[in-house]
Symmetry: C2
Subunit: 376 residues, 2 copies
């Protein structure tokens, strides 16, 4: 087995899980936020900077790396770890989400998905077996089965047909995946916003005995309360001795609410994407750095933060960099936002250890969101 999940304790106040995930490239403390390095780089960051902020694992995207530079090249480079100079754990998704997001540019059959590249329009055909070949070449510690992420909203029958195909593809992925000593294959629970379908999907996948389970098809446009409701009835269906990964979720409230509902792993492009667009997540809520009120604000982005950006630079300076379209603006804001989420999860783990995650949530929300509604 490539990985082993160790449940340390459950928060008496919330039921959130504190754990350790042992992988070929080291141990991950969970619950954890995973920075996203779509194209074999976490945008604007070096691996050393990610380590400095205690990033324990990163995610990379199979769809993007398959198209560019190609998995053959990454394999020839010695795998993704060596190619990108990252020696800690990596998780790769399956490309399913990206391929299905292409809309008219893709066509689904039982065999797989035919699609056109977003880069050059070239035609490709991904099957569960092909995805396993690609993910094996990339060499991540944790890899995802090829799934369909149904859109929201979607009819019950569509979602049912889709999740059943996802199960059949999971069977094919499991059969095609041979590098089980070095890579752990996760099944992805689908079923949209339908309780009976989530139950069906979870049951079918758990029967296949994967080393871990992802929950897909959430954070696709539905209200957050609905996502939490789906998690409420889905996570209890998953085995306690396996890690649970909620895909594509990274807003501070969802990280906390997901942890409370038994999720161990999260990923999202949010912190780095909004960084490049000039937004910081701080202990007092969001800071939109271009706003005129920061013109002569010589305080750090977040007075409670000890990241590199907050230790050395002012809002006024970062605002100047942002308005002048300087790369250092993206670097500093990405550094801060990733540090913020990684540090948030550290606090979540401490709160679980001390059985006070509910209190922590209430205090954090009051400070971060104030009187406004919770949003990304």
């Amino acid at each position: 087995m490539a990985i082993r999940y160790e449940l340390i304790k459950e928060c008496k106040q919330t039921g959130a899980r504190l754990g350790r995930l042992h992988t070929p490239h080291g141990v991950i403390e969970t619950p954890i936020f995973m920075p996203v390095g779509t194209q074999a780089t976490v945008k604007a960051m070096t691996p050393e900077e990610l380590k400095e902020m205690n990033a324990q694992i990163i995610l990379s995207n199979t769809y993007h790396l398959y198209l560019r530079p190609g998995h053959d090249l990454v394999r020839a480079a010695g795998g993704l770890h060596k190619f990108m100079n990252w020696d800690r754990p990596i998780l790769t998704d399956s490309g399913g989400f990206q391929v299905f997001s292409l809309g008219d540019l893709r066509k689904i059959t039982e065999e797989g998905v035919e699609f056109q590249s977003h880069i050059d329009g070239s035609k490709h055909f991904l099957t569960p077996e092909k995805v396993m070949e690609i993910e094996t070449a990339l060499g991540a510690d944790i890899i995802m089965a090829f799934d369909e992420c149904a859109p929201f909203p979607a009819e019950w029958q569509y979602v049912k047909d889709s999740l059943e195909r996802t199960t059949r593809w999971a069977v094919r992925c499991k059969a095609a995946h041979t590098n089980t000593d070095n890579q752990a294959l996760f099944g992805i629970v689908q079923g949209g916003m339908y309780r009976d379908l989530r139950e069906q999907s979870a049951k079918e996948l758990v029967a296949l005995d994967f080393p871990g389970y992802s929950i897909g098809g959430l954070s696709v446009g539905e209200p957050k309360e609905l996502m939490y409701e789906v998690l409420d009835y889905t996570t209890p269906l998953l085995p306690k001795n396996k890690p649970r990964y909620l895909m594509g979720v990274g807003s501070p409230d969802a990280l906390i609410e997901g942890s409370i509902r038994g999720i161990d792993m999260f990923d999202c492009v949010l912190p780095t994407r909004i960084a490049r667009n000039g937004t910081a997540m701080t202990s007092q809520g969001k800071v939109i750095i271009k706003n005129a009120k920061y013109t002569r604000d010589f305080t750090p982005l977040d007075p409670e933060c000890d990241c590199y950006a907050c230790k050395h630079y002012t809002r006024a300076y970062i605002r100047h960099l942002y308005k002048a379209d300087e790369i250092l603006s993206s670097r500093l804001l990405s550094t801060h936002n990733l540090h913020f989420l990684i540090n948030l999860m550290k606090q979540v783990r401490e709160a679980i250890m001390e059985d006070r995650l509910g209190d922590f949530r209430n205090a954090f929300f009051a400070k971060y969101y104030g009187e406004t509604s919770k949003e990304d």
Copy 2:
């Protein structure tokens, strides 16, 4: 006096000068290449990274900072050093080059230059006194007098009128500059490609007894041999006990040839600009990273280099980053190119110390340029 130049020795083979320049923010070993941080940031880099590669001094642009974020803001931030988190020496130019480059957008009178901002079209009027006010607010260790950089080619009479106005403006700058304990004001020798005019300009400025002298109006489109010829007869006109700065020059051959002709300081956007465009300067010449031949080249940018980029990444990876438009591509190539020029100047200083700069030049050129002609 804000600065003091200490001549250590002259190369017996070439006459190049080895020196030390004492400034309020530390000692600079010369001859030196100064990275350019136009908008209060050396593009894509942090100050710590610049220190790691032993950057001893950086340059920043008065024109850009005056327009954005404004010198009042930088003064309120505690000056440029504090604003941008750089505690080593800084040199600011006068804005003359940028303003005169605006062409139809500027109008020169004896009093100063009226121009329109390249950012928002707003109208501004720069005079020698105003430039001193701005450079004092920015607070660099070394500041430039407001000059006109004549275009190339230009008629003798135009260049003569221009240099004489530059001298009159230098007198006004000197009178307006009061912060002499903390900032050293350099006069800028102009005179185009005319020997008699260079002699006139140098003589007039030396009579004003500046703490250092710049040579402006070169690297403006003329052949390099012509630039070297101008240096051949201009640097001997400058006092031996003052530093000499050749403005806007940064190609490897010009750094060596300039040093041989008695120049102590150089600056250029070249290394960071070509880095963002995907070009590396290496011990074996230029590497255009997008070229197909690097697709599966798993060697470093420069096998003889020990910079961060060369220690950890391959040409294949950096090529992938460049083609994927990732910020890390600009970071790694900027790191390498700046390291390359800073290290080149270290080798130049060692060669001067050992009276073998001529030999070093010949060996370097044979390797860097091979059989091709010298160009940027």
